[in-house]
Amino acid sequence: MHNRYSQLLALVITLVALIFLSLWGGLNQLLILNFLIFSILAVGINLSYGFINYVPFGYAGIFGIGAYALGISITLMHVSSIVGVLIGGVAGMICGLILLPLLRLKGAYFAVATLAAAELLHKIVANPILAEWTQGPYGLDLHLTGHSSLGLYLSLFLLLGGVIFTVFLRTSIFGRSLLAAKDNPLSAQAAGIPVYGGRMIIWLVSSVIAGLAGAIYALNVKFFYPDTVFDLSFSLFPLIFAILGGVGTAIGPLVGTLLLYGLYTLIGLKMPDVFQMLFGFVVIIVMLSLPGGLVGWARKRGIDLV
């Protein structure tokens, strides 16, 4: 237990140091912000996939709704940025509640259903009929100036919250009962574990994280189209990041994001198609030969990681 918290502390210090070093070293700030957003999404998807075994292929839908909730509340209701981000979180939660019946589906069915739900949300928001509120397909301009470091602090804060929550799940009775229910729902239920309640809580937390992340992302870019924020990359990239790192762990999603997003900044910006191809091969190879991800691989060799 002690070992785990010292690992967490080391992890957080490295992460924060890395980010401030690269900022200080003059790396593009938007790049770092995007890295943080993808890490947050990887942590959020990891909660859902790693602890209750539901893979939200349509995570981007909730992310986009969060972005639009912030956008609309700032452009039409003129709230402050912080309130806008909170509204994004609430919108994410409402989305999660609406999608709650999908938890009846399992495995690939749930994944495909959320994918359809995300596309549905995307097309509704982009529909010209709603242009009065969402500007339809023409994109939403927040007309914001300044505030540039607010997004950075908010995303660091959210990432930290997500990681701490994951470590809490890894160490607490609640988290362990979730893992038991994931392995064998029937026996877990027979042992008195509230399987459905646990699933609902994790799914809602995961939705809130997506909504908040979307809102912070919108705050960072200040101008976006439906196609930008509902882009399925926001669900599929973080999912693969988490799988490469190792799902169900706290450190896995961060390691995966660091590696693959690093690869993306190295070659993806100049040659997106080549990166896409490499990425596809990584997906195939990791899924077929490295089921526990990098953390699972390390654990097999006796290195216990959070």
Binding site: Y109, L232, D273, Q276, I284
Partner: protein, 294 residues
């Protein structure tokens, strides 16, 4: 008004037969191997690319080129079967793992498509088959749509003959209903599966040859949309049930045709909405027994 609705229904039925053709491959591959083929749309588009190259370089009519495209993709499927499908079917959760692995394959194919053909949206020349238009209550119905509907129906029927009359078809259906029992009565499950995976990949490429004649341009940008349409079709008609595919295709085709005429701005959400409704209300599809824990 009534005429408009009838016109929309006729166009929708033709589109629906095409959609059924689009779903055949997904239902065969899922039925036999429990593999959720997210690459489907990309394969359809690649079938279209191949038909386009055949037409542009060798002046081969897409309808004549269709068997060539089919054979090429069957071979591709057989090559992919051993390194990709075999490990998936041995894993602990083939349905989910296949979903992610084939997402990876889709990324690879999409990037190859974009590297090789650019971001251009291609359409095959219509006049090479027919440019004619049939007036239906004063509204123009392209004769080409009738051709596409007829060809799709013929291929679907051919597929049913294969599945219900040939020996391999019997074995295939045995594997679909129970893999282990099929093995125990002496069916070579691995070989039949490999063959069907090849045929499935080939069947994915065939609608690609017709894509630009009835649905939309050939471009990797539409990969995912095509995959979702195919999923809608097979989930409405019960995953893995070939007969259901025809009905699923017709339902989604008519739904799309009618919304395109009466509420065009909602046409793009029809597929997604149908998929969600069916999954929530009747996850086993229209003909399904409640055997699958969906």
């Amino acid at each position: 008004m009534v005429h408009l609705a009838l016109y929309a229904t006729i166009a929708g039925l033709l589109l629906g037969i095409y959609f059924a053709l689009l779903g055949l491959s997904v239902t065969l591959i899922f039925g036999v191997m429990r593999i959720v083929n997210l690459t489907h749309g990309a394969l359809v588009v690649f079938g279209g690319y191949m038909a386009m190259v055949l037409l542009d370089r060798l002046q081969i009519n897409p309808l004549v080129g269709m068997p060539l495209v089919f054979i090429a993709f069957v071979i591709l499927g057989l090559i992919l079967y051993y390194p990709i499908v075999v490990p998936i079917s041995r894993s602990y959760d083939p349905e989910f793992i296949s979903l992610v692995v084939f997402y990876g394959v889709m990324e690879v194919l999409d990037s190859i498509g974009r590297l090789a053909f650019g971001a251009t949206h291609y359409s095959l020349k219509r006049e090479i088959i027919t440019d004619a238009v049939l007036p239906v209550w004063g509204m123009p119905l392209p004769v080409l749509w009738l051709y596409v509907g007829g060809i799709s129906l013929a291929i679907i029927l051919l597929f049913f003959v294969y599945l219900y009359k040939s020996e391999t078809g019997y074995a295939t259906r045995a594997i679909m209903s129970n893999r282990d029992e099929a093995r125990s009565v002496g069916i070579n499950v691995e070989r039949i599966s490999a063959l069907n995976f090849g045929i499935g990949i080939g069947l994915a490429a065939i609608p690609g040859c017709l894509l630009s004649y009835i649905y939309g341009p050939i471009s990797v940008d539409s990969s995912l949309t095509l995959t979702i349409i195919a999923f809608v079709v097979v989930i409405i008609g019960t995953l893995g049930s070939p007969l259901g595919v025809l009905l699923g295709g017709l339902i989604s085709g008519v739904a799309l045709g009618v919304t395109q005429v009466f509420a065009p701005s909602f046409a793009s959400v029809v597929g997604d909405a149908l998929l969600l409704i069916v999954l929530l209300i009747r996850p086993q599809g229209l003909f399904g027994r409640l055997q699958r824990n969906a």
